[in-house]
Each structure stands twice: as structure tokens, then as C-alpha cells.
Amino acid sequence: MPNLKDLKNRIASVKSTRKITKAMQMVAAAKLRRAQEAAEQSRPYTERFLAVMAGLSSAAEGSDSAPKLLSGTGSDQVHMLVVMTSERGLCGGFNTNIVKLAKSHATKLQGQGKTVKILTVGKKGRDQLKRDFGDLLVGHVDMSDVKRMSYGDAQGVAKNVLGRFDDGEFDVATIFFGKFQNVVTQIPTAQQIIPFAVPEGYEASETLYDYEPDEEAILADLLPRAVATAIFAALLENAASEQGARMSAMDNATRNAGDMIDQLTIEYNRSRQAVITNELIEIISGAEAL
């Protein structure tokens, strides 16, 4: 049986752990609210943008002169996986789930004889991918200085991706991120961004528009922005998911610490009682012996 002092120390240390996880949970809750607001506010832009893109791209799809970002390079040999994860840990299975999806995707593509390249956004994903796919990592975007995700950050990532596309480094790009469902559920999601595909649910509107300059010029102007918009939306989802995952992970940790404290306290009380009983027995048997 552990002695009383050890038990006391354990209880004290678990108590301070609980304080830390509790504080982290509350910080995550506050950050989550902000991240959700940011995601909410970006929605009108994304929705209108996609609605216009739906009209433009359906018109251009068949033509030979369609930009490469829309029609593809004509091959799908080289795949670029953009894996977006968080910069910090202690957020449950959030990063692991995204990486797991990306890994299975990469393995599947390799099985089909395709070349896979991986670009990581966020430190945690890179750390996890380094072991198995270290030789496939072609780049990394550091987000550790970013306090609040801005469109500029997404543009940075988009520039990186588009630059590589222009240099002919890959044919198809897919982003991996955690879609925010609610605080306990984040769905790891893969979304193809190059060649650009309008997500389901966006129909070309029936209005006939005049285009200024012509449709093709507008499309060529908007496609790179569509990539940036998709990345921005994913980054915002990711930020919200990360905080949600951290919040529930820390909530669990706090609860576990509480259970542990209860158990340790019972054990402490029992051993204290045992010590007292022991002493009494000694005193009584000593008195009887006289």
C-alpha cells in the first residue's frame, strides 16, 4: 500500500492537472466561438462566388480553350495532397484523423501507380506524415504565427499551390481538412480543388448575363481566386474543428482527472484509517500485555 505522503502528492498533482485542462477547455470554448463566427461571416462570399462560378464553368466546360485550372492538364498522373492540420496538439484525434484519411488516400493512389506529392499546412500533420511519407513531402506552410486566420493566409497557401501547378509539378490537387460538424464531431474531408469542380448544390442561374470583359477572361481571372476561396473556407473550418476537438478533449481530460481525484481520495482515506486502526491495535494490545 502506497504511503500517505505519496498519495497526498499524487492528489495534489492531479488537481493541478485538472486546473490546467479546465482552463484550456475554457480558452478553447472562447476561441471556438470566434472561429465559428469567422466561418459564418465568410459564408456569403463563398456562396455567391460559387454560384457565379457554377454559371461560368458550366458554359466553358466543353470548350477546348477552357483554362487548365478548370479542365485539368489532360492527365491525372501526379497528385498533390494538401494536408491541413493544426499547429498545436492536445486536441484529441483531430490531427490524427485528418492524417489517417490523407495516408489512406496516398496509399490508394500509389497502388494505382500514381505519383503522390504532399504539401503540409500546420506542424502537426507534417510531424505525423514524416515517418511514413517523408520522401513525398514537397513543402510546408507554417501557420504558427497566425493568430486569426485571414484571407491573406489562404492566399499564401493558394499561391504556393498555384505556383507549383504552373510549373507543371502536379495534375490534380486535393485538400484535406476537418469539417466542423459540432463540438464533438469533426469530419475529416477530402476536397479536390484542381481541376476546379463546383460543389454540388450550386446550379447555374437562369439569368443571362453580359460579361465584361468576355466570359473566358473572367473565368481565367476567377479560377485562381476560387482556389484561394476553397482553401480559405477549409482553413476556417479547420480552425473551428481544432478548437471544437480541443474543447471536447479537454472536457474529457477534466472529467477523468476528477474521477481520478475521487478514487485517490478514497484510497487516501482508507489508508489513513488503516494507519489509525493499526496504531489503536498496537496501543490496546500493548495495554493488555501489561
Binding site: 461571416q41 463563398t46 455567391r48 473572367i218 481571372d221 481566386r225
Partner: protein, 141 residues
């Protein structure tokens, strides 16, 4: 006529407007009620909105405007109310234009198209700067 101005980060304005002057890529256009449905890309410039007696001005870059029967929506990658425009923001925009130019020059040394576009972009920046009274860096060509 409904007027909306949205940037990727938030919705900046949503109001009833009498007339909206848009800095289109092919030239300015003023939109009033019952304008023909049009989609135009934006050049860096001033967006002027006349609504119930007051005029609002925004500096916008990159994006497009959609005009339909309901009204005008302007989607700009960067949009700042004229009064909130700071020198830092102006500098950032100029740097961005310079960056586009540098890349265009590198990528398309033999075709004049993209480089000319980038030069125009920078000229537009300088024009915006002088219009709202902020210094712009001299573009290096």
C-alpha cells in the same frame, strides 16, 4: 435596388442604394435600378455607393460584381471603407501588385499579355492612391 459588398472575411455593407459606381476592368460603370444583368471583374479602384442622400466609398481590389434583377453584389478580395484606409494597407496592396508583376514577368517573358495586365494593375494602384491622398510606392518595372 439592393447593394451588397462582401469580402472573404465578412460582409461589409448591405443596403438600399440609388446608384453604385463600379470600377470595372474595362472601365467604370454606374449601376442604377433595372440595369441589364452583368458580371464584370474589378480593377483596383473606388466603389461609390449613393444611398438615401449619403455617399459611401470603398477601396476595392480583385474580384467581381454581379448585377441582376435584385440588385448589385460586389465580391472583392480586399475591400476597405475609404475612411479606414491606412498607409500600411496601401503599401500591402502595392506590394501585392508588384509581386504579380514580378511573377508575370518571370512566367511570361515572351508574351506581353500577362505583363501588360500587371503593369496596368500597378498603374491602377497608383491611381487609387492619388485619388484618396495616400502615397504609393513607385512601381519598379
Amino acid at each position: 435596388m439592393q447593394f451588397d459588398l462582401v469580402s472573404p472575411e465578412r460582409e461589409l455593407a448591405s443596403m438600399e442604394a440609388a446608384a453604385v459606381q463600379i470600377p470595372g476592368a474595362d472601365g467604370d460603370m454606374t449601376v442604377m435600378a433595372d440595369h441589364a444583368p452583368t458580371i464584370t471583374t474589378l480593377r483596383p479602384g473606388l466603389l461609390r455607393v449613393e444611398a438615401s442622400g449619403s455617399t459611401h466609398e470603398y477601396v476595392v481590389t480583385g474580384g467581381f460584381a454581379e448585377i441582376n434583377a435584385q440588385g448589385v453584389s460586389v465580391l472583392a478580395e480586399r475591400a476597405v471603407a475609404r475612411g479606414d484606409m491606412t498607409q500600411d494597407e496601401m503599401d500591402a496592396m502595392c506590394d501585392e501588385a508588384q509581386d504579380v508583376y514580378n511573377r508575370a514577368k518571370q512566367a511570361a517573358a515572351n508574351e506581353p499579355g500577362p505583363v501588360d495586365d500587371a503593369v496596368k494593375l500597378m498603374a491602377d494602384m497608383v491611381a487609387v492612391g492619388s485619388e484618396i491622398g495616400l502615397n504609393t510606392k513607385q512601381p519598379s518595372l
